[in-house]
């Protein structure tokens, strides 16, 4: 029941677009709604504008009050400082973040399709037990696994490596529920036809079924990538070598540096968030649909 709610709900997220053409929007309502939303728009936008503005403000002007929303003069010095400082290898951090996020995400997507397919379409002993364990793990808060996983990685001498991030990430179960739902939706006749043509189970999975759930794969990719890219807590625990840090941990190093470097912190925040925000602005429809479908898969 819940799965059907999720699906129709997500389909509906885009449906407004079509409705618009049928029923013209009234100008009065548009004005009223914008007036209503103006305070919220203001609250959402101002901190982001502030971050951008401070990133281009001289270190010596960082403490000016009242706030200079447009930097006087605008400067790139925070950026040149950050790139020149070898103790703050922000390019390396950016690359680290990109590597662990992409590798982790590819593992999650691939493993979710494999397992999701098996739990939806295949039969094998103890299938229900194995699936129940996945559901069980969803109910256990992550806090309890932190220390054991940390000790495990230490014993494998994997602290301060990329594996320390993506290995635990690959255990993620959320994608499996989504993939399972969507594999269920594929009509059995399609598989039967392929089987009669002599296709084996791996070929049916790879060549017939996988292309039909491409949308869900994109959804899981987006969801997992953002989760890994933005995560602070786990990298903070398992990464301590400066050259291995991910961007969110690196930002803390800049921000909590031995000398005050407010401008640098904002420049770092700018570097960490603006590419993601631009990416979000371009692919917003896909990203929002991906986040809602995947986020609700546990329902």
């Amino acid at each position: 029941m819940t799965s059907s709610i999720t699906e129709t709900a997500v389909a509906n997220l885009d449906a407004t677009k079509n409705k618009t053409r049928v029923r013209p929007k009234s100008l009065k309502r548009t004005l009223l709604m914008w007036l209503l939303f103006l305070p919220l728009v203001f609250v959402v936008i101002v901190p982001i504008i502030y971050m951008v503005s401070m990133a281009f403000t001289l270190e010596s002007n960082q403490l000016n009050f009242p706030i200079e929303w447009i930097p006087q003069p605008p400067t790139l010095s925070n950026f040149t400082h950050i790139f020149a400082d070898t103790t703050l290898p922000i390019v390396r951090w950016f690359a680290n973040s990109l590597i662990v996020s992409i590798v982790g995400t590819l593992f999650i997507v691939f493993l979710s399709t494999l397992s999701g397919y098996a739990f939806a379409r295949l039969e094998f002993p103890f299938k229900n037990l194995l699936f129940s364990l996945l559901i069980f793990s969803l109910m256990i808060p992550a806090a309890i696994t932190l220390i054991p996983v940390f000790l495990l990685l230490r014993d494998f001498t994997l602290l301060n490596t990329y594996q320390a991030i993506w290995l635990p990430a690959a255990a993620s179960v959320l994608g499996i529920f989504l993939m399972r739902q969507h594999f269920y939706a594929i009509p059995a006749e399609i598989e039967d036809a392929a089987r009669i043509d002599g296709a084996g189970r791996f070929r049916i999975y790879w060549q017939i079924c996988l292309p039909m759930v491409r949308g869900s794969m994109v959804a899981i990719f987006i969801f997992s990538f953002l989760l890994l890219w933005n995560d602070l807590f786990w990298p903070l625990i398992v990464l301590s070598e400066r050259s291995m840090l991910t961007l969110p941990v690196g930002l803390l190093v800049i921000q909590q540096g031995s000398y005050i470097q407010r401008g640098l912190a904002f420049a770092g925040a700018f570097i960490a968030s603006v590419p993601v925000l631009i990416f979000y602005a371009i692919f917003q429809r896909k990203i929002i649909a991906g986040i809602v479908t995947t986020g609700m898969a546990g329902q």
């Binding site: 209503l36 982001i48 039969e123 996945l134 255990a171 979000y280």
Partner: protein, 309 residues
């Protein structure tokens, strides 16, 4: 007939046929084993291992750990800092989840209306959630700063009010952090509510209109009951994620003033990775997990009973 499909008839078969079926099914394990290896090592085993470690006086450098039974838990019951951090966490969670749910539902209800720019607003309101919590922290420090902060800037210049020490005041620090978190996270519940609202059949609203129901009545008697399954999902997931709050206080206030904004997971982090008391930290995590599971079950039973299908 092929036997590895899920739609098998479950008639009793002779032993040889069973064995044959099993042999045909065995390769299916190849689909689940890759993920299950990761799952077993990094999720399932650690859950039980965490409980086990909590029974030891676990020191990171030792070869042989000392078993102390429930001593860690006994110490926890007398640990005033733990009690304080737990209280802070619950306070923070109630505020954040409460504001998030109300705000998200109101915004979603309004955005469901069809007007020019409603899609743009949806995209805009989710945008903060795209930011890393580190970025949130860097901005958050300056939002609430007493001398230079954005909030005090508007209070003093626009409203002519005196400056408020948001993060220095023990009774304001948690609400400030909660509001920061709402700014960052309310987009997701909003999108989920929006999806839930749009799955309510339009015919119901039209029927109510014909019957002469006002806007508030419609909201109260149609929207609220039909949104309950979504509400349950949102409240439970929000509760679970905000009970484990760490980064916002860690970056913005470092737990201060005093312990006024130290949270349970912060205390867990410091116990384990500052003082290397892994056994005690594990006990903290088990108690926290236990509380969360109990409350989740409670939420399910309370909200389920109000769900009308």
């Amino acid at each position: 007939m092929t036997t590895y499909r899920a739609s098998m008839d479950d008639k009793v078969r002779p032993v040889s046929a069973n064995r044959k079926r099993l042999r045909k099914q065995l390769p299916n394990y190849l689909f689940v084993i890759p993920h299950y290896l990761f799952f077993a090592v990094f999720l399932l085993y650690p859950i039980f291992r965490g409980i086990q470690i909590s029974l030891y006086d676990w020191k990171i450098m030792l070869q042989d750990q000392k078993f102390i039974g429930l001593a860690n838990y006994q110490a926890l019951t007398k640990d005033m800092i733990f009690r304080e951090t737990l209280g802070n966490t619950v306070y923070f969670t109630v505020l954040t989840v409460g504001i998030n749910v109300v705000l998200a539902l109101l915004v979603a209800t309004a955005l469901k209306q069809n007007f020019r720019g409603s899609h743009f607003l949806r995209v805009l309101f989710y945008a903060p959630a795209i930011l890393s919590v580190s970025v949130l922290g860097i901005i958050g420090i300056r939002i609430w700063d007493t001398q230079l902060g954005i909030v005090n800037y508007f209070l003093t210049t626009l409203l002519g009010l005196p400056r408020i020490s948001w993060l220095g005041n023990p009774s304001l620090v948690i609400p400030s952090l909660a509001l920061t978190t709402v700014w960052w996270t309310f987009g997701f519940p909003m999108l989920v509510f929006l999806a839930g609202l749009q799955s309510i059949p339009e015919a119901l609203y039209e029927a109510a209109k014909i019957d002469g129901a006002g806007r508030l009545q419609t909201f109260r008697h149609i929207t609220i009951p039909l949104i309950m399954p979504t509400m349950l999902f949102v409240v439970v997931t929000q509760f679970i994620s905000h009970m484990q709050v760490f980064a916002q206080p860690y970056i913005i206030t470092a737990g201060g003033p005093g312990n006024a904004s130290r949270t349970a997971v912060m205390y867990l982090y410091e116990t384990a990775w500052k003082f290397f008391r892994f056994g005690y930290a594990s006990a903290i995590s088990v108690v926290l997990a236990g509380i969360m599971i109990i409350v989740t079950i409670f939420l399910f039973s309370v909200l389920r009973s109000r769900v009308e299908y």
